[in-house]
């Protein structure tokens, strides 16, 4: 079976999207199998057929992703604005305070930026790394615009900002163009004057958001599993015509746009919406629940959307387990529960794992549903990324968060693949 699938999971066509690392677990054995199955020239011919797809993936998927992600580590805004200063800082070790030559270079750079009109851009980008820097830079630029020359001590006296360690370690951090600032920020860390430190508690946000994202994904995965596993078992044991009907009922919402379904949930979850009405009418709840803009509402809506993703791999594996397996277990003396636990469940497990992994990974990237149904404290990492891209125009930070999300996802996938063996994965 794995032979048949070998060409599909073969790493080559997917290289650009960076999944080669995932396939690494069994890539060697797959390649060996592949080589045995078809000689090299046939493989090349098969690959030729995939060239259009490969080109599309590289152009529309690989290149933009790499371009965007590279912004997480490459930000030339400081070195572009302060070329002379960056040059002068090269000769200093990190511990030395900047001397007169650095200050002279700084003044020349700032004057030039002021003349070019790019000073505002620089002030803003420095501010994104060091809050409060914007006004200080603009104030200095105004001072320098007067034409007077300042010595180091005069400038520090006029604008104390330039005498602070923090300022110079920030500038030094951006002096190469390559920076670890955004990636560290995505983990609430900072490479400050005294080494690697956590950002102050008030500014720390991303670790909490990542934890929340994983938490919501885990909750939704468990909920879909709890609902999907018995349903998949039921469908796989129904007579075919009835099974198809139930399957269509499960899949019907699957064929509807995610936006439409999310919008439908905003109607259902309202304080005076259908769900609350039903709960009150049935006497389950005595007062109306705050389902909209809450974690509970978010998990309910996401569970509904994700259910088919968890269910289908489980169902497809369950359908492949012949009924004689349980019969054999019974005839050999196993009670129903024992037979289920020792014979059925282990065989259904690859489907369960595949379904859960699929839902978990998809949940990590949810954007629309948390944006519409979640409250302020239910925004997931994707919402922050979108905010940096659309509102703050801080693409570096968006890239860094995306990179971290991608890394976590890949690590998770690799761990699962290693734990279960890639060949045992059964997607629909």
């Amino acid at each position: 079976m794995s032979e048949n699938r070998a060409p599909i999971i073969s790493a080559e066509p997917r290289l650009p999207c960076g999944t080669a690392a995932l396939a690494g677990v069994s890539a060697v054995s797959l390649r060996a199998k592949l080589r045995r199955l078809m000689p090299l020239h046939e493989e090349m011919r098969a690959l030729t057929l995939a060239v259009p797809l490969l080109a599309l993936l590289i152009v529309s998927f690989g290149v933009p992703i790499i371009a965007l992600l590279s912004r997480a580590v490459y930000d030339p805004s400081i070195v572009n604005a302060l070329p002379r200063t960056a040059e002068a800082l090269q000769h200093l070790s990190a511990a030395d305070p900047p001397g007169d030559d650095v200050f002279a270079a700084l003044e020349a750079d700032l004057k030039q930026d002021q003349a070019k009109g790019s000073i505002f851009e620089f002030a803003k980008s420095l501010n994104s790394r060091l809050s409060g820097a914007r006004s200080q830079v603009l104030k200095t630029a105004r001072l320098l615009a007067g034409g007077a020359a300042f010595s180091k001590s005069e400038l520090v006296a006029a604008v104390p900002f330039w005498g602070e360690k923090e300022t110079w370690s920030t500038i030094r951090g951006g002096a190469h163009g390559f920076t670890s600032f955004y990636l560290l920020s995505a983990l609430d860390l900072r490479w400050g004057a005294d080494g690697l430190t956590s950002v102050p508690a008030g500014e720390a946000v991303f670790l909490r958001v990542f934890a929340r994202t994983f938490m919501v994904a885990a909750l939704v995965t468990l909920a879909t599993l709890a609902l999907g596993f018995p349903l998949a078992y039921l469908i796989s044991n129904l007579p075919p015509t009835l099974a198809n009907l139930v399957l269509v009922l499960v899949l019907l919402p699957f064929w509807t746009s995610i936006l439409v379904r999310t919008a439908a949930w905003t109607v259902l979850l309202q304080k005076f919406g259908l769900l609350n009405d039903a709960l009150i009418a049935l006497g389950i709840a005595t007062e109306r629940l705050e389902l909209m803009y809450s974690r509970l509402g978010l998990v309910i809506a996401m569970t509904h959307i994700q259910l088919p993703f968890t269910l289908l791999p489980i169902y497809s594996v369950m359908r492949s387990i012949p009924p004689s397996q349980l019969r054999a277990a019974h005839s050999l003396g196993a009670r129903p529960l024992t037979a289920f636990r020792r014979v059925y469940l282990p065989q259904a497990l690859p489907g369960v794992m595949a379904g859960c992994l699929l839902t978990f990974i998809l949940c990590l990237g949810y954007y629309i549903t948390p944006a519409l149904i979640g409250g302020a404290s239910d925004q997931l990492i994707s919402n922050f990324i979108a905010n940096y891209v659309n509102v703050d125009l801080n693409w570096e930070m968006a890239a860094a968060l995306s990179f971290m999300l991608l890394t976590f996802t890949l690590l998770l996938y690799a761990a699962f693949a290693r734990f279960l063996g890639l060949d045992r994965f059964k997607l629909v």
Partner: protein, 380 residues
């Protein structure tokens, strides 16, 4: 039954000392009926006894109810009416896991996620057998089917015949007194199947177990069984020892299903208890042995086996003589088969010695004795 040899059998120790006080009938089907959705009849009014220690085969075409009967005995399906007795008590309310019956499935139903040894140990571990005892019994069971070298393999790494033997070891390891086999050799090729037939029969003789075997292959049924139960559309057509079924079929279905037979249609002209005269379509008359009560005018089906037809000596006085023409000839070394067309247009196959030469178109006079030609009531 070679029960004396059971003591040597690797897994047969406890079975060698069956107390003689046990009833001779291990299983009794009493007026068992199975219908689906109220009207589809799968098994109708079945009365059947499985004797202790015998190899009984349910033989029939697909849809004849043999597998349904087996499933009811195993406990996978419940009789709609009637009772099944196992060891003298009703098992109607006993779930399959409490019946202590071994079962071998057509597709083996080995557990793919367990090794061969784990598969065989499964029935012991659900019975909470002690660990040391368990591994010894698993080893003996695997030795019995000569697979001790494969205990760590997965079922998928074995050939069909090996998987079959694992399934057998798994069904025998807990020493059930009754083992059910549902077309266990159906998926094997001819040669392996014949080999496994001998092996199964030997195991049965060695262990002294009772086997109920389901197949649609009549030669398999005849070679292996002590008794054969022939099923036809949900009913038991006949049960008996293989040679009895062959020589004295109780109805036209069994006569045609077991072995090869020629069938001729006609009408009864005269009938007595021991013989009757039947008029064929071309008004020629033959004598036959009537099976069941028939009166003149009844339609009938005559059966005569190809090897019981001979060439009539010229001028001899035979019970029955028919004229026919050779249409085809198959030479088979030790004998030859002739395809003849009778004057009335019906076809007849004759099995005859290899020496004589026959050409298509040759006219022949055929004869048989009345005892070999059986007249069955023709169902309208």
């Amino acid at each position: 039954m070679a029960r004396s040899s059971a003591a040597e059998g690797p897994a047969g120790e406890n079975l060698s000392s069956i107390p003689s006080a046990l009833p001779a009938n291990l299983v009794e089907f009493i007026e068992v009926e199975k219908t689906y959705a109220g009207h589809v009849i799968a098994v109708r009014r079945l009365d059947l006894v499985v004797r202790r220690g015998e190899f009984l085969t349910f033989l029939g075409p697909s849809g004849s109810g043999k597998t349904t009967t087996l499933n009811m005995l195993a406990g996978f399906e419940r009789p709609t009416r009637g009772t099944i007795m196992l060891e003298g008590r009703s098992v109607d309310r006993l779930p399959p896991y409490e019946r202590n019956i071994g079962m071998v499935f057509q597709n083996y139903a080995l557990f793919p996620h367990m090794s061969v040894a784990e598969n065989v140990a499964f029935p012991l571990s659900v019975r909470k057998v002690e660990k040391r005892d368990m591994s010894a019994r698993v080893r003996r069971a695997l030795e019995m089917v000569r697979l001790e070298a494969f205990s760590e393999r997965r079922p998928a790494q074995l050939s069909g015949g090996q998987q079959q033997r694992v399934a057998l070891a798994r069904a025998l390891v807990y020493q059930p007194s009754l083992v059910l086999m549902d077309e266990p050799l159906g998926a094997l090729d001819k040669k392996l199947r014949e080999h496994m037939q001998i092996e199964l029969k030997q195991l049965h003789d060695q262990l002294g177990i009772t086997v109920v075997y389901v197949t649609h292959d009549q030669s398999e049924a005849l070679t292996m069984s002590d008794r054969v139960a022939v099923f036809e559309s949900g009913a038991l057509a006949q049960i008996g020892e293989p040679d009895a079924l062959y020589k004295e079929p109780a109805n036209a279905f069994v006569a045609n299903f077991i072995g090869e037979n020629n069938t001729l249609e006609g009408t009864i002209e005269q009938a007595s208890k021991s013989s009757c005269v039947v008029r064929l379509r071309d008004n020629s008359r033959v004598k036959a042995t009537p099976i069941g009560v028939m009166v003149p005018g009844d339609p009938t089906k005559l059966t005569i086996r190809p090897e019981q037809i001979r060439l009539a000596e010229p001028g001899s006085d035979e019970d029955t003589c028919l004229e026919g023409t050779v249409e085809g000839r198959i030479y088979l070394g030790d004998h030859q088969r002739l395809l003849l067309r009778l004057a009335n247009g019906q076809e007849l196959t004759v099995k005859i010695g290899a020496d004589a030469g026959f050409q298509p178109g040759m006219p022949l006079r055929l004869a048989w004795s009345t005892a070999d030609c059986r007249a069955f009531p023709a169902s309208p």
